[in-house]
Amino acid sequence: MSLLKVENISKSYSEHQALSDVSMDIPEKTIFGLLGPNGAGKTTLIRIINQIIEADQGAILFDGSPLNLDHIRNIGYLPEERGLYKKMKVGEQLVYLGQLRGLSMKEASKRGKAWCQKLEIMDWWGKKIEDLSKGMAQKIQFIATVMHEPKLIILDEPFSGFDPVNANLIKDEILELREKGATIIFSTHRMESVEQLCDHVAMIHKSEKILDGSKVEIKEKFRDGSYIVEFKEGEIKTGAGYEVISTEEIGRGLKRSLIQYSAEGNPNELLKQLIGQVEIHSFVERIPSMNDIFISLVKGENPELAEA
């Protein structure tokens, strides 16, 4: 069941094509990674979902019905370019932003306080934003994004500006929100957080969607059948069905080789051949990281970048 269906969305700004015929399904109760290099069109898509701008073509279905202003109540949005009213107090600010998302004043105040307690910033309720550190302001922004318990939460680079401790805190909150049934669209350049958090991933490059699917599927698809072998004594030589890409010393008399085998082949066959040659200490398939996939896709699409 998908919470959000993006159907054939196109958008252009005068001469510049920002999105061309982009479709994707965002499954319910998942963390959906929206990736792509700068200027690919992610922000445009996110703004269209938030109804800040309108698509030229295509439709968006939220929970089965065409996206409309009533859905604002069910969406939480943390933009990349974000801030708060500097002269306003934390409490006033949360109540105001909660009310804008459709909460009553009383409810907004209650939930705002509960969240501040949870994130241990209740002492700051009566302080002005300009007196807060950047990390604290980020927490307030996070609370404002999720306090109305939206079905869909859109986070654009949520961890920028957080120290590792607070980044972890927020990461746990995001996972908890998913447990409670929220769907999260997560846009970032930090591939290690995609690795840790995302269930599904879509990638936009040069206004087009070039990748879409569950993280497991994508990794399966991008397996290239290469293996990392650590061994002692001797040398692995390229043989039938496999090729040694590189070998390096890693200390304690150990060497590590990257071996290109086939993605379909049985690793036992490869292992049998290697056992005859060297003393094997470790044998592991090299699963491509999201980072590798991202870079290979962007560079593959963009030969000039690859040369640089």
């Binding site: 700004y13 005068s14 703004r47 938030n50 109804q51 800040i52 701008i53 309108e54 030229d56 604002i72 969406i75 949005y77 943390l78 933009p79 370019e81 974000r82 801030g83 708060l84 009213y85 500097k86 002269k87 306003m88 105001y96 932003l97 009310q99 804008l100 998302r101 922004q141 404002a144």
Partner: protein
């Protein structure tokens, strides 16, 4: 709708709670009358303390004579002009008038010497004086007696009344209506700039603090802009009302302190109590002024003021908001301020150059109908009595005007607030205007 109200509420509260608002709200009604009172006091003192100035007269014709007044006493001097000028420059005296031996039919060559350049009025005064004397001489020459001359002198005082459509007569006073027009027109001018700049400031702040994107994901940009414009306007109205109340309390207290009253019954009692004739006369004058003040349609003027303030402010506030949305810093805003400020200044200039000279002329009419100048000019004209249909026309065009500028500004605002670091010029603004959402 509900959300516009939330935005208005926030704009209102965040401004009203500021210390600067409290300070301005309390101090202005105290300082304003104090400054005016102080200036009046100084002017009176100045007038009182003026010593009689000595004017030397070198009359070679021997035809003219000058009577001493409170301000000037005249001293005849003899000799040549050169020696008189010499003497004069050494003396403490105020001026020297040189009258040559002139032909009565062609009076020429009168010269006025002073140590400082005299005001236009002063020279005028001496011109009138000499002209009158020459006229008298000519009349005597044609055979009139002194008595007949005296009889010829007539003094007329014109009392002016306004007749309203219902036929009531009201005593009018050009000085008062002028004053009202001046104050009202000028207040609108100041308010347009002060509150318009606040809107622009607010938009730039929102853009800089990057709160904008969070807000526009919950509220339409156009609604956000309307909320901001109306929010600031309500601050203005609120402040104006407080000022009105404070000022009337202060002026009421002030008047009772001076024993003046707007109530005619009470005043006539006061007049009866007064014994001396001169006191009665003085009181009559005061009473007259009070009647004029009472006859000024205060309620009408206040209501029209609120309307024209709101209308003019909406018109310009929207444009100020659009400028704020297009730029990143107040310094960048300068380039777009000119076309907004021009019509406001034209309105004020029109008020001084046309309305006060000819309040019902065609320039005054058009300036008070064109929405970009009407708030200032119409308020300036209002004291002179403007036909109802003109007010109605002017109101309709003003409403039409601000609906147009709100629409125009909204088109620019929705794109501008999401743009950071873009280089914006008029061409870019035109592109935003046409751009689809």
């Amino acid at each position: 709708m509900n959300k516009i109200f939330l935005v208005i509420q926030r704009e209102f509260m965040s401004r009203v709670k500021k210390k600067s608002f409290l300070l301005a709200t309390i101090l202005v009604p105290l300082i304003f009358p104090a400054v005016i009172g102080g200036m009046v006091y100084l002017a009176i003192q100045n007038e009182k303390n003026k010593e009689t100035e000595v004017v030397q007269v070198l009359d070679e014709s021997g035809l003219l004579s000058f009577e001493d007044s409170d301000r000037y006493s005249y001293k005849s001097v003899e000799g040549s002009l050169e020696s008189a000028k010499d003497e004069f420059s050494k003396s403490e005296d105020f001026a020297l008038i040189y009258i040559p031996d002139f032909d009565i039919d062609k009076p020429e060559g009168v010269v006025f010497y002073a140590k400082t350049s005299p005001g236009v009025n002063l020279v005028d005064r001496f011109e009138n004086n000499i002209e009158a004397q020459i006229r008298d001489i000519k009349l005597t020459r044609s055979g009139l007696t002194e008595e007949q001359l005296d009889q010829l002198k007539t003094y007329v005082r014109i009392d002016s009344f306004n007749i309203t459509e219902t036929g009531d007569e009201k005593k009018s006073d050009a000085g008062f209506t002028f004053g009202i027009g001046y104050v009202m027109g000028f207040l609108i001018y100041i308010f347009l700039f002060a509150y318009g700049a606040q809107v622009m400031q607010g938009v730039i702040e929102e853009k800089n603090s990057k709160i904008v994107e969070v807000i526009v994901s919950t509220v339409r940009p156009f609604h956000m802009m309307i909320g901001k414009v109306v929010g600031v306007a309500s601050v203005g109205i609120f402040q104006f009302l407080i000022w009105m109340i404070l000022m009337s309390v202060i002026s009421f207290a002030g008047m009772s302190a001076f024993g003046l009253s707007i109530d005619p019954m009470e005043s006539s009692q006061m007049m009866q109590q007064a014994d001396e004739a001169s006191a009665v006369q003085a009181n009559e004058k005061v009473q007259e002024i009070m009647t004029i003040i009472r006859d000024i349609p205060i309620t009408q003027i206040v209501l029209l003021f609120v309307f024209y303030f709101l209308g003019g402010y909406m018109l310009y506030g929207a444009l100020f908001a659009a400028v704020g949305s297009a730029v990143d810093t107040p310094a960048d805003a300068q380039q777009f301020m000119m076309p907004i400020m021009m019509p406001i200044i034209v309105g004020l200039m029109g008020l001084f150059m046309f309305v006060f000279n000819d309040p019902h002329g065609s320039v005054s009419f058009w300036l008070s109908v064109i929405p970009f100048t009407s708030p200032i000019v119409m308020m300036g004209r209002i004291g002179f009595g403007v036909p109802a249909w003109e007010i109605a026309l002017s109101m309709v065009t003003l409403v039409g005007g601000f609906i147009f500028t709100l629409w125009l500004a909204g088109r620019i605002y929705r794109i501008g607030i999401l743009m950071h670091g873009a280089k914006v010029n008029y061409k870019v603004l035109a592109k935003w205007l046409m751009q689809k959402n």
